[in-house]
């Protein structure tokens, strides 16, 4: 004796947020029922396990039917199949696109390809996220990437507009897309201590300062539309960065810069001696990173370079975050006083980002 068929359809689609979350998290129906039973929902309404099972099945079916629409969220708004109040639609979309930080940290900067998809079970095992959920998250990244990759205009706006996400989530996706597109290396052991949010912040900085979109639409409309986008770094700017080399190649300039910084720092921090000693090394490190960014390979290593060339030396000298802040502020500002140094604009554009990235990446 079995229930051959069991459906419940409301004119207004009934969705339980708790069940939705379980579905998103990749629980099977039976596991979800167990979780719900443990949650005590049964006592609430004198329900039995059968009732709970039937309800969970109904909801899972509904979510599966909705999933197709969630792939292009703008459709959810004008589809006719489900009558879902707008605020529920927003919830459905937002939750569907929400990801686990642990998971995204693993795939950040990787190519969103079939190859990576094959490794998802390993990632799942490592992060404790179910394979089903990993797949959803991965496919979301891929889908967003595919849609905005070729679009003009600001990346965050594009994502928010096409996927109807909240500002925060759209920014996170922009970071993911940006990292995937530029293939930044984030998996090295030295970078393991960094969280997704650290990277997302840096990505935000890079997007809003180092891309073509960052400086506004160029007046020259002859250029290919690809240049208006902020998924890619501004090639011209990267070229210009080479000019900064003068700061380390010109001996006078280097010494002058050092003395200016040291004058400003003297007596303001306990780490002054280390700063003075390491000035040339650190400055070489930062300028070399800038000069090499024309190579795609070096772009990928941008974060590892920052860690190796700057953060690690500082950390071994036990600089505090305040020290870093102090040092970099003066390091940046002093360059303006160097009268033979002509590349102030490029310098600021470079250092502005590097500074905030390092602040974010320097964990005490």
């Amino acid at each position: 004796m079995t229930m051959e068929l069991d459906v419940f359809v409301g004119n207004t689609t009934i969705m339980d947020e708790e069940v939705y979350q379980l579905w998103l998290d990749g629980y099977t129906v039976n596991d979800a029922v167990k979780v719900r039973m443990d949650g005590g929902v049964m006592e609430e309404c004198e329900a039995s396990a059968d009732v709970l099972l039937s309800d969970t099945m109904d909801q899972y079916r509904t979510f599966q039917m909705c999933e197709r629409l969630l792939h292009s969220p703008s459709k959810l708004g004008n589809q006719l199949l489900f009558q879902i109040p707008p605020h529920r639609q927003a919830m459905l979309i937002e939750r569907y696109y929400t990801f686990d930080d642990a998971f995204v940290r693993e795939v950040l900067g990787k190519k969103l390809s079939k190859g990576t998809k094959k490794d998802l079970d390993d990632i799942g095992a490592k992060t404790g996220v179910t394979l089903k959920s990993c797949r959803r998250q991965f496919d979301n990244f891929k889908r967003v990437f595919k849609v905005v990759e070729e679009l003009k205009g600001p990346l965050v706006e594009n994502i928010r507009h096409h996927f109807l996400l909240s500002d925060k989530l759209a920014r996170d996706y922009a970071a993911i897309v940006f990292f995937a597109n530029n293939r930044f290396e984030t998996g090295k052991r030295k970078l393991q201590y960094l969280t997704f949010q650290d990277f997302a912040f840096c990505a935000g900085q890079l997007i809003s300062n180092w891309t073509v979109g960052a400086v506004g639409e160029p007046a020259d409309h002859q250029r290919s539309f690809r240049f208006y986008m902020d998924v890619d770094l501004d090639k011209e700017f990267l070229q210009e960065l080479k000019e900064l080399k003068v700061l380390i190649t010109d001996k006078d300039l280097l010494d002058q810069h050092k003395s200016l910084v040291c004058t400003a720092l003297r007596g303001k921090t306990k780490a002054f001696n280390e700063m003075e000693t390491n000035f040339k090394n650190l400055s070489r490190g930062l300028v070399n990173i800038a000069a090499k960014l024309t190579n795609t390979k070096d772009v990928r290593d941008f974060f590892i370079d920052l860690v190796e060339k700057f953060i690690e030396p500082c950390r071994s000298d036990r600089w505090t975050a305040a020290d870093i802040r102090l040092y970099l502020t003066h390091y940046n500002n002093s360059a303006h006083i160097l009268d033979t140094f002509k590349h102030q604009v490029v310098w600021d554009r470079y250092m502005g980002v590097v500074k905030s990235c390092i602040f974010k990446m320097y964990h005490d």
Binding site: M1, E4, G10, N11, M15, Q79, L80, H87, Q89
Partner: protein, 1018 residues
Amino acid sequence: MPGKLKAKIVAGRHLPVMDRASDLTDAFVEVKFGNTTFKTDVCHKSLNPQWNSEWFKFEVDDEDLQDEPLQVTVLDHDTYSANDAIGKVYIDIDPLLCSEAASVISGWFPIYDTIHGIRGEINVLVKVELFNDLNRFRQSSCGVKFFCTTSIPRCYRAVMVHGFVEELVVNEDPEYQWIDRIRTPRASNEARQRLISLMSGELQRKIGLKVLEMGGNAVVGYLQCFDLEGESGLVVRAIGTACTLDKLSSGSAPNTNTHMSPLAHGCRSTHNSPVHSACSSQRLSQNFSVSVPTLIFTGMGSGGSVGKEAGPLKTLLRQQTQTALEQRVQRLNEFPFFTLTSFPPGFLVHVGGVVSARSVKLLDRIHNPDEPETRDAWWEEIRQEIKSHAKALGCHAVVGYSESTSICEEVCILSASGTAAILNPRYMREGSNCLFEEPSPPSCGFCHIPYDELNMPFPAQLTYCYLCRRQKVPDVLFTTIDLPPEAAVTGKGCLIQARLCRLKKKAQGEVNATAISNLLPFMEYELHTQLMNKLKLRSMNSLFGLHIQISVGENMLLGLASATGVYLTALPAPGGIQIAGKTPGELSNEHHILTIQKRINDTIAKNKELYQINPPELTEEVVGSPIPEPRQRSRLFRSHSESSDEVSELDLSHGKKDAFVLEIDDTDAVEDIHSLLTDAPTPTGFYSCNTEIMPGINNWTSGVQMFTSVRVFRLSNANLTNQGLNKIFTDLCENLLKSFYFKLRSMIPCCLCQLNFTVAVPEEELIQVTVTAVAMTFDKDQTQEKTADKPPTKGLSGGSETEEQLQFPLELCADSSSANCQPTSKISGSLKQLPPDLLPSASVDYGSFADRCSTWLELLRLKAHTMRRGSVKTSRRTHARIHSHTPPCISVTVVKMTPLSFLPGTRIIKYLGIINMFFIRETTSLREEGGVSGFLHTFIAEVFSMVRAHVAALGGNAVVSYSMKECMLMENPNKNQAQCLINVSGDAVICVRETDQEPTPSTTNIGHTSASATDEAT
């Protein structure tokens, strides 16, 4: 050529990919009406094509306009091979034929394919220009309004109720034609859908003609059904109540008084417990008339002869060339039946009791579809039966009348039931629209017995009415109608169900029919016994909305009786239930009986508390009270095999009142009592009923959730007993209810209204239960009835400010004293381009006009083509306030659906026409679609969405009196196939928020309340 139909294809969206190579589609559209077809251009390589076609014009007879649907087919153009069909939309243009309904159909329709389901949407515009036709011999009946609602629709007044109209048309079922062997399933499904659409159109037209003939202008309580008789054909039949309706002018609107009573006036009645029923089987000379609770078999003439007599009689009637008036009288005399379940005040005088008749027939091929005499004769015979039952109850009319069938292979059970009643004759005479003085108080008058006390049709205990003490009332009252709103009720009501399974041997032909008709009276009797017991157990004394369904399968019969139990203050309090053992000697037995007795008493006490039944203590000392000592004792027989001669004469009365006696004489009886007690009580915060309104609850809030649930249970145990089956069936129903309570827990406090259960035996070993109902929230704390008419003259403050908020065009329907509701002034809101995120059906509160004309803001339609810019062109002041949420993206009108005739918190300002849709869905990839549950889930959701789309296109925002009349599922999991047929109907309406009532929650979404409630619950 009395009509011109114009259609324009605007655009499509979300089309499926038809060309794998390009991932795009080259779509074009064929628009077909009758035999004329137009095509749009091909819109190359787009999933969101913009055709923006010219107006396609069809010049047609209005007869065709009524019969035919407009058929819109979307195709994918293919240069080399045949064009592929994407899907179709059938648009019923009937609502456009009535000046008071919709004037244009315009909107997005889901493109439907019987194999693939919904595949994108198409935007279509349809208009009709009707020319006057003065031909009195015309075959069309344009202009007659149809309503599914079984009461006088709000915003109308019944000038006259003419009476019963019925019609049926038959045809061959395309599924069984020879051609079906060579055509694709899609072609076959479409042929069937189209045929049924045509037949319903024809049926409606023919009924309309009858109404015109009777001098009416509307059909209320229109009930249309399909009988898929398989090989022998397809029958579409309909019944309804012909009326002359007057559009209410807004000033007098009695429909504005309260948001809680579905009908602000009108009594519906009910009557006595006993049910009169009959079963007959054609070609078998057994005819039964059953009167419960004492079983009387009355042998009557053979069924066959009755049919033969009735047939020609009717034909004769039709041919008679009488004046309309004479004919009407004749017709009324013929069948004084009314499909209404609630009535204008003063209409219903007394109620006699439930009358029902069943007849078992063997189907044979319908030879001549144009002369469906056999089917007509069958129904004629049943109606005669009903009529005579009503007469036996001293009544001249039957109200709350309905007909149904159950078919299994070649056997068909025809059933009809209703409530015998005495109606005010004045209502049926022309011009008598004034109210007359009630001879008896409205709160109890309908309970008074209509029959002769000395010549009672069944044994009933009569007492003087507990309210007026002037006339006699029965001890129990069963009816098929709604509780009259003015009836005096104690406590709350509740859903009461009796469920029964009976095994029968598999057989063929007449043997089978005989077996079934032999079982029927027993089933009927058992169901009533169960109902009576459960009623007593809840300490109630009357049933409303009684609906008994008997469904036939190959090896079993299923019976399901649903009703809403109520304690009518006018009727005596029910006695308790006494348990009696047959063998009083045995001690253990005695003990057992005591235990059960205690449980029963406890349950009764608990129920009294639950339903708040605290009738005022009987003041028998009231001077001159003529209440005689009630000497009421009824017996309950445990099984049908016992007959009335085994009467226990034990005096087991406890207290003052006599009690029902349950005899425990065998294990069956024990189990029956157990099952009686196992009905789970509704959880706290929930109430349930199968009527329009829940007795005892009237402060509805705006949360509404209509739902459909289907369960199919497979009996795998080959040798089941009746008892085992009963238990399974009972559990199935109980679990369904439990499931609803759980799913809707976020709406607490809430009431499930119009719980409509349908049972079927789709195959051997399968039991299917389909339920449609609506959950409505109510305000627990506000116990006092909010009856005060709040005239719409209280404007909202801050008019100017709110005016500025008017961001989109409103169509103002100023319905002043003139009886028409066409929008007389149009206001376009100022202003800015509509933000895409604005909720389409934002609710609008409106103010009032100095001239005391209420104005209604019609539903705002967020459709680009209806948008007009400009300033407000009216001299009156309008205050509009818009509530809107901030959705991310929305362009779909919210359409509420309810099986009730009203939506709480709103007022219906316009009826746009009847929705009557029939869909077939088939799949050959059942597993891939999530099994049979996934398949049906999708299909039901698709049906809802198509109903909503059609309503929205008519300019409506709600469907009232919605019902799913058919949900027939056939599956073959081994072949990975399934097919399902669904028929739904309802009235499309425009409703606006009730003024001055909690302006905060927006009407915009039904879902809002339920959804947010879900949030809380999680």
